[in-house]
Subunit: 322 residues, 2 copies
């Protein structure tokens, strides 16, 4: 990571300052919650993309910082709402906001962050950027709803899975890259390339996240391992296993998906079936393909410290799984 951010250290410092400064509200309680969730970390990958893509396209002023912060706000709003929807207990290695303050503030502070994001964008007034981001947030909510509809559905297809991932994750990655580029000088072809880069990167990111939920340890992920299974989320490693599973194994998975309380034993049984049918390898291979495609999309830009950093970021994303 150090290697990726070496040329934008000042920008990242400005980002943290802006994140604090831009959440203006007279309601102290909102500040407390926003500070809690935003300061508790997170990888800042989406703002990083905005900043790197802006620099890549020769942007030399400071508006990219507030757009980077805005995209992190939107992402944070979705986390707050997700944790309510999923009844999650942990987030970024600490108790989630819904656990500490309840569902009501999580919903309302999420709404505040959404609105604040649009207010910030409206104040800056870059019409094309507002369009791009609002389309992305609409897709995001559609993705979340599609995912909700597939909960515990053993018949979830790969196609349905990829559609969910595209909407709930890849579109905002894509928008982050495009927005950065739009601040600088960008041709239609370059804009398309950045959009494509972000999209492929986002797909890979989610696939790796879904792998880690079966292979990682709690302290690496910052949330509990096995969460997807517990929440009835049918992700690619599992879809792949289900496709090859024997009828008896399929029945076991089905029962576990429909349980309201999965036990560590349930998780272990499902994990073993995923290992048996190579669900991790399969998902990992597709993630790597997405990363290769993402890097390929960047080759229309001449080599620079920023293409280099974006390539390294792509490698970092897929290497998280190791």
């Amino acid at each position: 990571m150090e290697d990726i951010i070496k040329d934008i250290k000042d920008d990242l410092k400005d980002l943290e300052t802006s994140i604090q400064k831009l959440v203006t509200t007279k309601v102290g309680f909102i500040k407390d919650i926003v500070n809690y969730i935003i300061r508790s970390g997170g990888k800042r990958i989406r703002p990083l993309l905005v900043i790197l893509c802006a620099k890549l396209c020769g942007y030399n002023n400071n508006r990219h910082i507030s757009y980077a912060a805005t995209i992190e706000f939107i992402h944070t709003a979705t986390l707050l709402h997700d944790d309510v929807v999923d009844n999650a207990k942990m987030r970024r290695g600490a108790s989630s906001v819904n656990v500490l303050w309840g569902n009501e503030p999580s919903v309302l502070v999420g709404d505040f962050l959404y609105s604040k994001s649009f207010e910030l964008m409206a104040e800056d007034g870059h019409h094309e950027i507002i369009k791009t981001i609002s389309k992305a947030t609409t897709a995001l909510s559609e993705g979340e709803i599609l995912e909700l509809l597939q909960t515990s559905d053993i018949d979830t297809t790969e196609e349905q899975y990829f559609d969910i991932v595209k909407n709930k994750t890849a579109t905002l990655f894509s928008a982050a890259c495009e927005v950065g580029g739009m601040l600088g000088n960008i041709s239609e072809e370059e804009r398309l390339a950045l959009r494509n880069f972000g999209y492929k990167l986002g797909m890979a990111f989610q696939l790796v996240d879904d792998i880690l939920d079966y292979t990682s340890y709690d302290n690496v992920l910052g949330k509990q391992v096995g969460t997807d299974l517990k929440e009835g989320k049918v992700t690619l490693p599992l879809i792949h296993a289900i496709a090859s599973a024997k009828p008896r194994e399929r029945l076991t998975i089905k029962k576990i998906l429909n349980k309201t309380n999965t036990t560590p034993g349930d998780f272990e049984r499902v994990r073993k079936l995923i290992v048996k049918y190579q669900g991790i390898e399969y998902t990992s291979r597709i993630a790597r393909e997405y990363i290769d495609d993402a890097k390929q999309a960047l080759t229309i830009f001449p080599f620079s410290p920023f293409t280099d950093a974006l390539m390294k970021l792509a490698n970092y994303i897929v290497r998280r799984e190791l």
Copy 2:
């Protein structure tokens, strides 16, 4: 009401068509929920304000319809989230979405409607309007949070109450009027007048709503009477009663506000104290003052069928309580 809408019947028909048409999504489930809540009625007061104010300012094209629909979408999104926050059972005379489909879709479809609203505005691209509406939605979420923080607090002051009402209700009314006007030809003075008109109208609207929660019948309000007390909302009729209540009465109110399950007997006890200390009359008088101020703000416009309709709408809002 018939008298108010007589000159904009075609616009209102277009509004209903637009409300259906603008919710474009490939996710059928979203359409089902949006249709359920939007078709189940509602008074359409906010879109009515957009339309009437646009006409008042000489606007003669059709963009006002999609802004009117957009503001109704934003309002609907807040209803969906409110009902989750308040754990409400009824809305617009029917079961609420959270009761029929659960909290998760209520949160996510609310998010979808918010995003869609900004997407629609971004497509139209009226910079000042996007600014006005995004500021209003930020205030709205702040108002909801302020209200949440005052839950069951017997020491809630009038000042705190008015601040909540301003943010959660009046600001969107105000924005609706301003947005309508901005579509037409409007001077800075007129814009201020419409903003002020909407603000005062919105204050009165909420005050009357808070009265009706103690005086109406379930079938008039479309939601359950006594809901505010049940949810621990300390509204003006109650604040006024608390100010005059004897220590023993105050203790009774305090106990009831802190109960998780209020009984019809509890409601009756509180209602009687409000009657005893004239909390309804007091709130009603202030609502009427707001309406008078609202109408006064309109007098800078020459008389027209549209000033007439807006005046009548103002009268209608305060007369709902009878």
